[in-house]
């Protein structure tokens, strides 16, 4: 397998008949088989993928292609409903669920001729930052520290999606991001992760976590590939009333890495003594690089940044407790018999959900319950307004904002803190972006002293994905990050 495979390069290889879709799909299926130790996939669609690849090859022969990317296999987070393919949200409660409908995002991929290799492991119902809450066990990060052989978390919740791209178990993947679930694992695995503006991509057919925050997006090896996949998945969908009617752009075609005259904001509230020196150094270096490339660096303030995480841990659990009320053992999923209807509900949900999901449902139920609703839920929504207006003000002064993606690089699976709040801090830099509904991207910048990837985050105003991708492309072109993990799982 060539590490240089991208959506862009594979489209050229297919076009020139250097490889067939069937050969390519077989190659990735082999990589998945050889990489089983990484635990990236919950379900491998071996048979279906090969049939779909043959069909793509036939379309190519008859010059009836669905798009330039017809025949390229990708990985799909196990949160997107896929017709006839088990969709579990990495939860016991959905472990037997086979949807008879297709999510809009995966339908859009199918309409472009992309082929699904299988369903990627994630935190249960996308709740987590380490992939450890999955009913199917942790995903292992393809990266290891040079100083230790211990296994590292890939981040989460789209941990399988990020690790699979990083370890070449797919060339690109679909993830979802409610508080950082695309950008944080991308940062931990040296991949590019894009969370689009709220409303840019349809949420229809995606297992819901927090409906006002959830967005689907690509995890890829390059900024160009992120633009290609965003082109394919985005756009208005009448089945999702919150999907935007704003016309989408041709992100890939319009990519332009010229940033001369742009203003890039550095928010002082993201500075911290606790930030690792190597992350701080990358952040400073990147700002200098953008300046050298013609941008102006502007110090800005986002005063309510530190309130974003506590507000998120009211709003997201509140919405989750409501969304997850549907898992009751009646219509689909697990049922555990009880003495009566209520007992059946309680036993089903107690056995079907893992600890973190239960914690969030309980907190969400609490903040929505009579007597606490105003003090917690409404309060958090007011804080959300303050956070949003911070960004509205900032984008009057700057085109884009540059921050670190995460407060640390990948850590050991065994070292996950036992206090849930300590874990929540992983998303401190990514959560405000979801609350404000903005697009954000994490791109790999450098490796730290342990040879682990450091990701930087760019943020732009709503529906300015083009500008976001353009600045990201400028950084990517300049630094030319080309580190890849050593494939220890092949030995």
């Amino acid at each position: 397998m060539k590490d240089s495979y991208t959506l862009k390069s594979l489209a050229v290889l297919l076009e020139n008949n250097k490889i067939s879709s069937k050969e390519l799909t077989s190659e990735y299926l082999k990589n998945i088989e050889n990489g089983k130790e990484l635990n990236c996939y919950n379900t491998i669609s071996q048979e279906k993928a090969l049939i779909d690849a043959e069909k793509s090859d036939e379309r190519r022969k008859s010059q009836n292609l669905r798009s330039k990317y017809d025949g390229i296999p990708i990985g799909i987070k196990d949160l997107f409903c896929t017709k006839g393919v088990t969709t579990t949200a990495s939860s016991k409660i959905l472990s037997n669920f086979v949807p008879n409908y297709e999510s809009t995002v995966t339908q859009n991929c199918d309409d472009a001729g992309l082929i699904g290799l299988g369903k990627l492991n994630c935190d249960e119902f996308a709740m987590g930052s380490t992939n450890k809450t999955s009913f199917f066990g942790s995903v292992k990060n393809p990266w290891k520290s040079v100083n230790s052989d211990n296994e590292l978390v890939p981040g989460g919740s789209s941990g399988g999606s990020a690790a699979a791209v990083s370890g070449d178990l797919c060339v690109a993947s679909l993830g979802t991001d409610t508080g950082g679930s695309i950008r944080q694992p991308a940062s931990f695995t040296g991949t590019v992760g894009l969370k689009p503006s709220y409303g840019r991509v349809s949420r229809w057919g995606i297992v819901a976590f927090a409906s006002s925050l959830d967005q689907a997006g690509p995890i890829t090896k390059t900024v160009e590939d992120a633009a290609i996949l965003l082109d394919i998945i985005s756009g208005h969908d009448e089945k999702d009333s919150t999907s935007s009617v704003n016309p989408k752009e041709n992100y890939y075609e319009n990519l332009n890495s010229d940033i001369k005259g742009m203003k890039i904001g550095i928010p002082k509230e993201f500075r911290s003594d606790k930030l690792p020196a190597s992350t701080q150094k990358s952040w400073d270096e990147c700002a200098n690089l953008l300046k050298t490339n013609g941008a102006e660096i502007v110090d800005i303030s986002l005063p309510h940044t530190m309130s974003a995480l506590p507000a998120y841990y009211i709003i997201a659990p509140a919405e989750a407790s409501s969304n997850l009320a549907r898992y009751d053992g009646v219509r689909y999923g697990l049922r555990v018999e009880g003495n009566d209807l209520i007992d059946m509900y309680e036993k089903t949900r107690s056995e079907g959900f893992g600890d973190e999901v239960k914690r969030r449902i309980l907190i969400g139920t609490y903040v929505l319950s009579s007597g606490y609703y105003d003090a917690y839920y409404i309060k958090a929504q007011k804080i959300r307004s303050l956070i949003k207006s911070d960004y509205v003000e900032a984008f009057k002064k700057v085109d884009a904002i540059l921050t670190p993606s995460t407060p640390s690089t990948a850590f050991e699976i065994a070292n996950e803190p036992s206090d849930p709040v300590q874990n929540y801090l992983n998303d401190i830099f990514t959560v405000p972006v979801n609350l404000a509904g903005l697009p954000g991207i994490s791109i790999p910048y450098a490796n730290d002293e342990n040879n682990l990837p450091i990701g930087l985050q760019l943020i732009t105003n709503s529906f300015e994905e083009q500008k976001l991708l353009n600045v990201a492309k400028n950084i990517e072109e300049t630094i030319n990050y080309s580190e890849t993990p050593e494939k220890w799982w092949l030995k």
């Binding site: 309130s307 209520i342 949900r349 907190i363 007011k382 307004s385 303050l386």
Partner: protein
């Protein structure tokens, strides 16, 4: 400390999640830790601020009221743990 055994069991009832005795201690510790964390918001003045429930500034569209044939009973029941004719089967509710 907001969550003790009694309030936690009540919360479990509201959320329809049974909580076993051996889980109570850890769970109340975790939930209290989360509550303490989110309680820091109390210090921020928000009297003059309107709440935001959704970041999208877009009027919700109303769809045309037309009949379609999607979502057949057969499709909807396909994943039911227990079904009979065109119905979901649940434990007896009325004596």
């Amino acid at each position: 400390m907001e969550f003790d055994k009694k309030s936690l069991l009540k919360l479990g009832k509201l959320a329809r999640i049974s909580i076993s005795d051996d889980k109570l201690n850890n769970l109340s510790k975790d939930l209290n830790s989360i509550l303490e964390f989110v309680d820091q918001l109390k210090e921020i003045k928000t009297d003059q601020v309107d709440p935001t429930s959704n970041s999208l500034n877009q009027k919700l569209e109303v769809r045309d009221d037309k009949v379609d044939t999607k979502n057949s009973a057969e499709d909807i029941l396909e994943n039911a743990p227990e079904k009979e004719m065109d119905f979901f089967v649940v434990p007896k509710v009325i004596e």
